[in-house]
């Protein structure tokens, strides 16, 4: 068995035993103040839909950054798709991130390019052949309800539409995990619900979805697994849970 094969098996075994996302007693401290995460252990299985909720400063954003390998843990281990992120070299990060789809509150679209280009861009990065891109992009735009707007500049779209473009971009490479950081933070209730409905559909097709949110109404209505964080620790983790009150 080759080294590559061995590593692949180890990753599969890790996913089987601990899920696609596994934080093992993870702490993260910045230079000043209390640790942003303090001994967090969390396991998210393949195909799960998980809300991560908590007030500002609870450690949600740090958690997302650790999962994206934007930050490294001060102690403990972070595993995503069986990869030990604490051991990942800088040159391995791009390939690792291609397993993830990411959606941000501020959409983070390339505003000087049109809708099609924004989505196609994600495929170009992974060197998908042009023919395949021309087939995939319209299909994914149709999935998020933007089939007719592929030529529009992103600045001409509403907030909801921009988030759909971001969602299409995150999904076009068929990621195993979708991380959404406050995806409805800049949207009105109607658009928020539409985005959440899309996320639910994506999850139903097998993608693991992790949503960091403040939106109490959505969390309580969707009845998914809810991980509540406070001051860097997980205070509640409940399947079909609710957004807990502050105290």
């Amino acid at each position: 068995m080759t080294g590559k094969e061995l590593r692949r098996r180890r990753r599969e075994q890790m996913i089987e035993e601990n899920g696609v996302i596994y934080l093992d007693n993870v702490s993260k401290s910045y230079s000043k103040g209390a640790p942003a995460l303090n001994g967090v252990t969390l396991s998210i299985g393949k195909g799960e839909f998980v809300f991560i909720v908590g007030d500002s400063g609870s450690g949600k954003s740090t958690l997302i950054k650790l999962l994206l390998r934007e930050l490294t843990a001060t102690s403990g281990n972070v595993y995503v798709m069986g990869n030990d992120l604490t051991r990942l070299r800088h040159s391995q990060i791009p390939k690792f991130r291609r397993n993830l789809g990411v959606v941000f509150q501020d959409f983070r679209l390339l505003n000087d390019r049109n809708v099609y280009e924004n989505v196609a861009f994600a495929q170009r990065i992974v060197e998908t052949p042009g023919k395949v891109i021309r087939r995939n992009v319209p299909a994914i735009l149709a999935t998020v309800g933007l089939a007719g707007k592929y030529k529009a500049k992103t600045t001409q779209l509403s907030g909801g539409e921009q988030q759909r473009v971001a969602l299409a971009r995150a999904l076009v490479n068929n990621p195993s995990i979708l991380l959404a950081d406050e995806p409805t933070g800049n949207l009105d209730p109607k658009n928020s619900w539409e985005i959440m409905k899309l996320l639910e559909e994506i999850n139903e097709s097998g993608t693991t979805v992790v949503v960091v949110t403040h939106n109490r109404e959505i969390v309580n209505a969707m009845r998914k697994r809810v991980v509540t964080m406070k001051k860097g620790v997980i205070v509640n983790d409940e399947e079909g849970g609710e957004y807990l009150d502050e105290d």
Binding site: P94, K95, R97, L100, V102, R124
Partner: protein, 314 residues
């Protein structure tokens, strides 16, 4: 990297220039302004140096030899060793072999007299007034120097030759020219270094600001899973194209101005062209073109490369 990705990168490099046209224009303008000043100064300094060098090359040392009957007027002519024709030729070869000598001309006594009469009498010269050549026996060598600062060393050496009766030279001219040359060299080197340093600072800052504005774009690419090379390549290409355009524009302007100024001076001030020898456009651009292009493209490359690197740590 796949061929399609390579073409995509190249396309993006060009497209970025148009997408960020104001930044591109500002960068090209900054690079052009810096390299224009640099080029203009270089053209002026190179001409100064050339004029001084030409003047240096015109400075000659004249060597006279002992002859039958010299010292009759009571002048102290040292030991009286009269050179044979063969020895005269040999001395000529020895002088020509010296490193600081660029040219040696033998002037026979008859040639010397002919030149004298032409210079002082012109057409009114009457050979009857001088039945004999008054300069008989005064054969000489006119020695031209490639490095005028070596004149005094050459003169000392010439004076040590027993056959040499007298060496005529102007110490003041040599010292002045050599001093001016040195001054121009130091001042121009100093100014060129300062201009280049300012250019590098301004250009790399412009490139850095232009890229920093697009830090979000780089950020997005990194989150999606782009490799550092994939992110960096279009920016670096963009920086190099901007550097190239920024360098080419002032070259073209200086070429036109210089060409025009040169023909204007030659046509309108013909008297100047008699003693001021300007460099041709080709002479100037033989150095200026590669230097400007290397500075423009090089700074475009290095500026964009290092600035993008700062934003890649995501």
């Amino acid at each position: 990297m796949k061929i399609s990705s390579l073409f995509y990168t190249i396309r993006q490099g060009f497209a970025n220039i148009f997408r960020n046209k104001w930044y591109s224009l500002a960068s090209i303008a900054t690079i052009s302004a810096c390299l224009f000043l640099f080029g203009l100064f270089y053209a002026i300094v190179a001409n100064f140096q050339h004029i001084v060098k030409t003047a240096e090359e015109g400075v000659s040392v004249v060597v006279f030899f002992h002859y039958e009957g010299d010292g009759k007027d009571g002048a102290d002519c040292g030991p009286h060793v009269i050179p044979s024709e063969q020895r005269l030729e040999e001395i000529g070869q020895l002088i020509a072999a010296r490193a600081e000598v660029s040219e040696v001309k033998f002037i026979s006594d008859d040639e010397a007299w002919k030149k004298f009469t032409e210079d002082y009498y012109g057409d009114s010269y009457d050979p009857a007034g001088f039945p004999e050549n008054p300069l008989t026996g005064m054969d000489s060598y006119e020695v031209y120097l490639s490095d005028v600062s070596m004149q005094s060393a050459l003169v000392t050496w010439l004076e040590s030759i027993p056959e040499v009766r007298m060496v005529r030279y102007s110490e003041l001219t040599a010292n002045t020219l050599s001093g001016v040359n040195l001054l121009i060299a130091y001042v121009s080197l100093g100014i060129i270094v300062i201009l280049l340093a300012v250019s590098i600072f301004l250009i790399s800052n412009t490139v850095a600001i232009g890229i920093s504005v697009r830090a979000t774009e780089i950020n997005i690419m990194k989150y999606i899973g782009a490799t550092d090379f994939f992110v960096r390549a279009p920016f670096v290409l963009e920086g190099m194209i901007i550097g190239l355009l920024g360098a080419a524009l002032p070259l073209w302007i200086i070429y036109s101005i210089y060409n025009y100024a040169l023909s204007y001076v030659i046509e309108r001030f013909t008297v100047l062209s008699g003693f001021l020898n300007f460099l041709s456009v080709d002479d100037i651009f033989r150095i200026l073109t590669p230097v400007s292009l290397v500075v423009g493209v090089g700074i475009g490359f290095l500026g964009s490369f290092s600035t993008v690197r700062k934003h890649l740590q995501v």
